[in-house]
């Protein structure tokens, strides 16, 4: 980097300074008297490259008097040949621009990028060499330079080892420093620990105090107990007089009464009015005995009724059904007897009627109705020699006969009309007709009616047998056979066969024959057949009705007679069975008269039923009375037992007979009752009776007397008052002590303080370890740095030695670092020296300055050896040098300017001239 042009608008004492159109060379001499602005120009160039510092107009020393701003511009040529212009201005705030070619960049107050490898401080310290600084290099600057030059060799990502070590030491120092200066966390902790130790003492004292308080409280408690005991005794004495004696007296009276009453257990369960109770009990016994006797008398009536209902009555009633049946049959038999009379009269009448009707109808003479039939049903009441075949009469179907008769009547009328019409021509026909007066007979076939008649006979026999007392089945079977036989007889009645009628017969003739056939066996009078007409039918119908009525009446008579016979045998059987029982009733009754017997038996049965009813009612009454008697008797027994028990207990308890003992016991009971009443009154009067009694007992146990001493009473009352005050005071004191102890116990205890101390100690130990670790780390970093530098420093020192040799003309040829040294860091070595000598007095100032100049030039070379080479500023550097040294110095300077622009500030024109001769351009500054 080479500064080619400088233009200062205003910067400190420099105003409108311009280096002019000619570019500055590599070696520039700035010539001017003291105070001309040489240092200001250096500061301006530094500002141009790095920015304003300080960056505040108020604080900046470079804002000219009367101006509002400071600023200027430099043009620099870079090593690649390019040109850059830097403009800086400080108004209210700093600003700056960097122009490279056409491009302009805002810098604000940042350094230009080509100087970033050298910090401003290092630039000012190393690149500006003043007379004062030439003779030495302070430790910090040297350290910083080493960091820059050596520590970062080949490692741009590392921070300065020295800075890191400083940082660690600083952090360590904040925790603890051996010299006890500054704020230290460890010291804070230690002071807190000390404070806690003080609190520990307080806690120990507090614990002691608690023990004292507790001890005192226990003493107070004992005193309190004593005082309370005293007061209790006195109060008891007073109570005895004031409160307990009345109670005590009452209790004594109660005791006396209880003593009089004797053993309470003996009186338990006894009524209070024992005498009266016993009297009532005896009276009750007597009354109940009377009741039992009365009930026994009432029971005699029902018992007699029960006896009247004897065995004979019971046997009769056992046969009540049979007797009732007999009585019922006797009653029916009476009706049957009367019915037979009526029926027999009817039979006689119907027989006469039948005889008459038969006589009218038939040719035979009918007998009178007075005659009894000799045998057979049909002949009853009719003379046997005149008896027509009634069965044949009955067998004629009246309806069929009526039909044929009517048809015959119509046919005859038709034939009359035909004969009238054909009278002439029918005379011949008349010869061939049915002869008049021909007897009515029809040829039959006797063999075909035989089974029918047999069936009818069988039926009639069975019917008669049933009606005369045979089984009902015989009656029913007989009726059925009879009905079937009659029906068959009717349906199988012989008919005139056509073969029997001559073909020439007329229709009327045929019908007449048919009627005659129907009347076969019935000798009907001729007048009823010439011709057969309605009279025949009516007469036959009447005869048949009379036959049926007679037959029915005779059956009924037979039945009645049969029942009468049954009654007789039933009576005999009953008399045989109940002869003994009925003997009295049958006395005077005609033997075998069923009707008298029935009346006697009925009366006997009625008597038996009456006795039975009476006996049942008597049993119910006897039961009721028996129960009543049993209850009364039971009650009587209980009463007697109770009385006996009471008397026994009285005798047992008193040792006297009941009559006397009861009065003794009554007296004891009354004493007990009085004692209880007194107790109740006591309880009512003294609700705190239990307490008083306890106090009385307590006082008695203590051997208290129950006499009243007024003087003692007054003394005790006074002492109670005093004790009350004492107790109150002691209790208050005890509470206060308790409260104080409790309060103290809530405070911090020794172990709590010790725990806090322990925690602080642990924290302290941890802090110490942290501090020592940081400190050791700083040590370690420095050691590592030193070792590294030791290994890598030779290059820098070699270059410095080269400069030194040239500057000293070979007198010294080596510059060395003594890391072990406590004092001087650098050492010099030369051909004339046997051992290195410290770079310090007594070496001459000129030699010191030569050595440090060589070191600085080597450092500068190292600092930017691979970067833009920054300008070097020399301020009267050689002014104290002798000519020979100055010559060597200027030579070296001239040589350096070949690789780096050098600004040499001087107020000595001859120096400027010397440099000018060596190619330097001269800038002149005036005051």
């Amino acid at each position: 980097m080479k500064i080619e042009h400088i233009r200062v608008h205003g910067f400190g004492r420099l105003t409108d300074f311009d280096t002019g159109p000619k570019t500055l060379g590599r070696l520039v001499v700035v010539l001017g008297p003291n105070e001309a602005g040489k240092s200001t120009l250096f500061s301006f160039l530094t500002t141009a490259l790095y920015g304003f510092s300080p960056a505040s107009r108020e604080l900046s020393p470079y804002v000219p008097w009367g101006a509002d701003e400071a600023g200027g511009e430099v043009v620099i040529r870079l090593r690649d040949g390019s040109c850059a212009s830097v403009f800086r201005r400080l108004r209210s705030s700093p600003s700056g621009t960097l122009s490279v070619g056409e491009a302009t960049q805002e810098l604000r107050n940042r350094p230009v990028r080509w100087v970033e490898h050298v910090p401003r401080t290092v630039f000012r310290q190393v690149f500006a060499i003043t007379l004062a600084e030439l003779a030495g290099l302070d430790e910090d600057t040297w350290g910083s330079i080493q960091d820059r030059v050596l520590g970062s060799m080949g490692a741009s990502d590392l921070r300065s080892a020295r800075a890191v070590a400083d940082e660690l030491e600083k952090e360590a120092g904040e925790i603890w420093r051996p010299n006890r200066r500054g704020n230290q966390r460890l010291r804070d902790l230690q002071s807190r620990t000390r404070a806690l130790r003080s609190r520990r003492s307080e806690a120990v004292e507090r614990d002691r105090e608690i023990r004292g308080l507790v001890e005192e409280r226990e003493n107070v408690h004992l005193q309190l107990q004593d005082a309370r005991a005293d007061r209790h005794r006195d109060k008891l004495a007073v109570d005895r007089v004031q409160e307990l004696i009345p109670v005590k007296r009452q209790l004594q009276r109660i005791e006396e009464l209880k003593e009089e009453a004797g053993d309470e257990i003996e009186l338990q369960g006894l009524p209070g009015d024992l005498v009266e109770h016993r009297r009532r009990l005896a009276e009750r016994c007597r009354r109940l005995a009377g009741d039992v006797d009365e009930l026994d008398a009432e029971l005699a009536g029902p018992r007699a009724a029960l006896e009247r209902y004897d065995e004979a009555s019971r046997k009769l009633l056992e046969h009540e059904v049979a007797i009732s049946s007999f009585l019922s049959r006797a009653e029916h038999a009476k009706a049957d007897q009367e019915r037979v009379g009526v029926l027999e009269a009817d039979l006689r009448e119907w027989t006469a009627g039948l005889s008459s009707a038969l006589r009218q109808l038939t040719t035979s003479d009918a007998a009178t109705g007075e005659a009894e039939p000799a045998g057979g049903e049909e002949g009853h009441g009719i003379q046997a020699d005149h008896l027509p075949d009634l069965a044949a009469v009955s067998a004629v179907s009246v309806d069929l006969l009526r039909d044929r008769v009517q048809r015959l009547t119509r046919v005859r009328e038709e034939e009359v009309r035909e004969r009238a019409a054909a009278d002439g021509r029918s005379e011949a026909a008349g010869r061939h007709g049915f002869p008049r007066g021909q007897p009515w007979s029809a040829p039959g076939r006797p063999g075909s009616m035989t089974p029918v008649l047999t069936l009818v006979g069988l039926g009639a026999g069975l019917l008669i047998w049933g009606l005369l007392g045979g089984p009902m089945l015989a009656t029913a079977g007989g009726a059925a056979c009879l009905a079937v036989g009659v029906t068959l007889a009717l349906t199988r009645r012989p008919r005139p066969t056509p073969a029997a009628v001559p073909p020439s017969r007329s229709r009327s003739e045929e019908l007449r024959e048919e009627v005659a056939a129907m009347l076969t066996g019935v000798p009907v009078r001729r007048e009823f057949l010439e011709p057969p007409g309605d009279a025949l039918v009516s007469q036959l119908e009447r005869v048949q009705e009379l036959i049926r009525a007679r037959r029915q009446a005779r059956g009924e008579v037979e039945l009645c007679r049969k029942r009468l016979a049954g009654l007789q045998s039933a009576m005999q059987e009953l008399v045989r069975e109940l002869g003994d029982e009925l003997s009295a009733s049958l006395d005077g009754v005609t033997a075998n008269d069923p009707f008298q017997t029935a009346a006697a038996v009925g009366g006997a049965l009625e008597d038996a039923e009456t006795r039975r009813g009476d006996a049942q009612a008597a049993r119910r009454e006897a039961d009721r009375l028996g129960r009543s008697r049993e209850a009364t008797a039971s009650e009587l027994r209980e009463a007697e037992e109770e009385l006996a028990a009471l008397d026994a207990r009285i005798a047992d308890v008193t040792g006297h007979p009941a009559e006397r003992g009861v009065h003794i016991l009554q007296s004891r009971l009354e004493a007990m009752a009085r004692a209880r009443r007194l107790e109740e009154e006591l309880e009512h009067a003294y609700p705190d009776l239990a307490d008083r009694m306890a106090r009385i007992r307590s006082a008695e146990e203590e051997g208290a007397t129950w006499t009243v001493d007024e003087e003692d009473l007054a003394r005790r009352k006074r002492r109670i008052e005093e004790l009350d005050e004492t107790i109150e005071a002691l209790a208050a004191r005890g509470e206060a002590l308790e409260r104080d102890a409790l309060h103290l116990r809530e405070q911090e205890t020794v172990d709590a303080v010790d725990s806090a101390v322990e925690s602080l100690r642990e924290e302290e130990d941890q802090l110490k370890r942290e501090r020592d670790r940081k400190w050791l780390l700083a040590k370690l970093v420095r050691e590592a740095d030193r070792r590294f530098r030791e290994e890598h420093q030779p290059d820098l020192l070699r270059r410095a030695s080269e400069y030194l040799e040239r500057l000293t003309g070979g007198r010294y040829d080596r510059l060395m670092v003594d890391e072990e040294s406590d004092g001087d860091l650098f050492q010099l070595m030369g051909p004339q020296l046997p051992t290195p000598v410290p770079l310090a007095r007594p070496i001459s100032t000129g030699t010191l300055e030569q050595a440090y100049l060589g070191l600085r030039l080597a450092i500068v070379d190292h600092l930017d050896q691979s970067e833009e080479r920054l300008p070097l500023f020399m301020d009267e550097a050689f002014v104290n040098w002798d000519d020979r040294r100055r010559e060597k110095g200027l030579e070296v300077l001239s040589e350096v300017s070949r690789s780096r622009q050098v600004f040499a500030f001087t107020c000595h024109p001859e120096m400027a001239e010397d440099l000018a001769r060596r190619g330097a351009c001269v800038l002149r500054l005036g005051r």
Binding site: G151, L186, D751, S755, S759, D772
Partner: protein, 416 residues
């Protein structure tokens, strides 16, 4: 003879914890553990409770705890259970608030100095079932072997020795003061049927025949006291076949869980899940009782994208609070010193620059191959002593695992 053997209850001892509430709960836990011991003794109908020292810390015994102790002893007395108590270095007989000053109930026998005392142990009907010979610490720094003062026992009944002692060969003895040191070989041949020891807080059996036991502390006090804590139920009814079983009594347990696979953890939620999984895995097979409260220390190690957040004390406090909630613990504290950014540490270690140099150096120092020069104990806040070896060990311990932090600080990007 049946008895409950407990030791090192340290009632009223100090506990460390993040908050006073937690510390108060821990202090209460000691009392609760003792109460449970009494409950077990009553329930199991033992004949005696043997207390092998350090029942409380003499200079801290508060009035409340004193009353508590007397109440519990009274409960045992009510059930006819004898208490034999040999003092230890924390509750020596000579101390001002020591056991001799307490108004013990009748059933409590105290051995409070170096004079051995032999106590008859009766059963509940008054018949002697065994003997306990006890010797106590008269003061806080007994350095003599008290076990050798016990007379050799004889007789047909079980003989038990009760002592607060550091058996030299016991596990964890280094963590305790060498008070009343004793020799295991001597104990084995001293003629007792059982040695009831106290002092070392780790439960352990030093000998099988005769049984020589430390029951461990009744309630753990710090993360060093991990594992179940309680007492030993001992049945010597058959002298040749003692039956010894452990009874867990401590309501609070301490444990540390390390979580070192954090390179994929991108958020606080993921970190909490990782911790939760690690904790679950740790509890496999040892879940603790249903009412167990946990004091958990979570140690985070290795590369983690959240490393910068985990360098903040406030963040760690907050994480601890959330994990306390998530894990249902009494308290969770989180240590993240070993967490560093996710970067290729091996590549950095091979670098030719200050970082590589520093990483190689810290490795060498951690392994003890090199030492940092110029370390002065006076410049260290927590130097254990001036002793060079102790200092070197301290340095090694502090620098171990700091590679990540070194890299993080030196690297421009990572350290920002």
């Amino acid at each position: 003879m049946r008895f409950l053997h407990i030791a090192d209850a340290h009632l009223d001892t100090s506990f460390t914890g993040r908050s006073e509430a937690v510390r108060a709960q821990l202090r209460e836990a000691s009392r609760q553990a003792f109460r449970r011991a009494v409950d077990v003794a009553i329930r199991e109908e033992v004949h005696a409770v043997l207390i092998a020292g350090d029942l409380f810390d003499s200079d801290r015994l508060s009035f409340q705890t004193e009353r508590f102790l007397l109440d519990q002893a009274g409960r045992l007395g009510d059930h006819g259970i004898a208490v034999v108590y040999a003092t230890g270095n924390h509750d020596p007989g000579s101390s001002r608030e020591g056991p001799r000053k307490l108004p013990w109930p009748q059933n409590v026998r105290v051995a409070a100095d170096a004079t051995p005392r032999r106590f008859l142990i009766p059963d509940h009907e008054g018949k002697t079932v065994g003997h306990v010979t006890a010797v106590g610490h008269a003061d806080a720094e007994v350095t003599t072997d008290l076990s050798r003062t016990l007379p050799r026992p004889s007789g047909d009944l079980p003989e038990v020795a009760l002592l607060h002692s550091q058996v030299r060969s016991s596990l964890g003895a280094d963590a305790h003061g060498p008070y009343a040191p004793s020799d295991l070989t001597f104990l084995r041949h001293a003629g007792f049927d059982y040695w009831a020891l106290g002092h070392v807080h780790v439960r352990q059996q030093l000998s099988d025949d005769p049984p020589i036991w430390y029951p461990g502390s009744l309630q753990g006090k710090s993360y060093a006291d991990s594992g179940e804590r309680g007492g030993l139920l001992v049945d010597l009814s058959h002298r040749g076949a003692p039956a010894i079983s452990f009874r867990s009594l401590a309501p609070v347990r301490w444990d540390t869980v390390e979580v070192d696979r954090l390179d994929g953890v991108e958020s606080l939620d993921e970190l909490e899940r990782a911790v939760q999984m690690a904790w679950s895995a740790r509890r496999d097979g040892d879940p603790g009782g249903p009412a167990t409260e946990w004091m958990i220390r979570v140690v985070l190690r290795g590369p983690c994208p959240l490393w910068s957040e985990l360098r903040s004390g406030e963040e760690l406090e907050m994480l601890g609070d959330e994990l306390t909630e998530i894990l249902g613990a009494l308290d969770v504290s989180v240590l993240a010193d070993g967490v560093h950014p996710v970067f290729p540490l091996e590549e950095h270690r091979a670098r030719t620059d200050v970082l590589g140099e520093a990483l190689r150096l810290v490795d060498a120092v951690s392994r003890g191959e090199q030492a940092l020069a110029g370390i002065d104990a006076a410049e260290l806040a927590g130097a254990p002593s001036d002793d060079e070896r102790a200092l070197a060990a301290y340095t090694r311990r502090l620098l171990s695992g700091t590679e990540g932090e070194i890299a993080a600080r030196l690297l421009e990007d990572e350290g920002s």
